[in-house]
Subunit: 219 residues, 2 copies
């Protein structure tokens, strides 16, 4: 029981700092998303394609979370966006204080869209508010259509589902209709985009939607 | 700091019970593996194919760990193996006491190979000993060749790497040579199998190796 108490205190402290992050984002009039997924679902590829497509229209800054290495930050930096890498050294999720510390290295006043790429983990990041406007869960078709039922917290707490790697559907047993039905069974309000970062399919819709969210925050 | 202390106590208690599980497995002369991976890497598919191929030669029992649902236990049961489902209700990994409790529903004296399928999570299960002889990490080609570097603890603590979904390599940017080099950079002793649960490629080698481990324990 003591563990549960400690855990609750950790969450309370996290939520207080997340609220301060959210206040910072509101003052800077930026739209912040917390992008979550399993390892290898394609968060970084989606981010690369998003930065590329929004160039000249939306100023994107990035906080990269990884258990180890700065490989993802290097990838994102090569697309020209300001990026800060958080290495958790074994930690399985980002917490609000880590994000707060990372923000010191970014110019929020010059940011329209802040993308926080969480650690690849479909379980633990579900429970941690970082101050984002919404969580975006990326699920790749290769993971199978049952995943929303098996990892419900993430799909319940997210506002958007990006189904990635739709170009691989011909080679997979994945039923994308069932995948989306399963996701909506957990969270009927989930907004769904179907994309392929390899072929580019669906990315214009996703980017238009993001640009509209940014415009709404800055209006 | 108090969180770290509690965490250490949790791990100490876990390890004591894991040692008792290991003793039970030794007394039953069974070979126990703890199978870990990201969500959707194909742990359950590998298990189905393994049970099917070892039928009549090796008696397999299964402990299924999932955050939610008993979908995996249903799949495994349909292949004719005794199976117990542990639903963690949001918990991100299995712990030794959960496995100990599950063992009460299995006949260890009638088991040659015990497969413990962990929760789909490439981070947290790395740190928890369940009493297994070894951890087997399953990585699918769709997750990308950089994953051993980005999630090193799992690859360091595993003895075997099963690279799954090699049938999809023609459609992916994954370099399997780089994947295996990255895995061996983290853990030079890692035994590697390349398989496809869809085409059956590599599964005979994997099953022969498993059968040899079982024979060694029962010798």
């Amino acid at each position: 029981m003591s563990v549960i108490t400690i855990e609750r205190k950790v969450l309370e402290k996290n939520d207080a700092i997340a609220a301060r992050n959210r206040q910072l984002f509101a003052e800077a009039r930026l739209f912040a998303v917390n992008v979550v997924s399993s390892p290898g679902a394609g968060k970084t590829s989606l981010l690369e394609q998003t930065i590329h497509r929004l160039k000249g229209r939306v100023r994107v800054s990035v906080v990269e979370g990884d258990v180890q290495t700065d490989l993802d930050a290097q990838r994102v930096a090569s697309y020209g966006a300001p990026v800060v890498q958080i290495v958790t050294n074994g930690g399985c999720h980002l917490e609000a204080p880590l994000v707060r510390d990372a923000l010191g290295s970014l110019d929020l006043a010059q940011t329209d869209l802040l993308v926080i790429e969480n650690v690849g983990n479909l379980v633990c990041p579900a429970n941690y508010d970082l101050g984002e406007a919404m969580k975006v869960v990326v699920l790749s078709t290769t993971e199978g259509d049952d995943k929303p039922l098996k990892y419900p917290a993430m799909f319940r707490n997210a506002s958007v589902l990006v189904v990635n790697k739709i170009d691989l559907l011909p080679y997979l047993p994945c039923d994308i209709g069932a995948l989306i039905r399963n996701a909506h069974q957990i969270n009927p309000a989930l907004r769904v985009f179907q994309v392929s970062c390899t072929t580019g399919a669906g990315l214009d819709d996703w980017c238009s939607w993001l640009a509209a969210q940014v415009a709404a925050v800055r209006a």
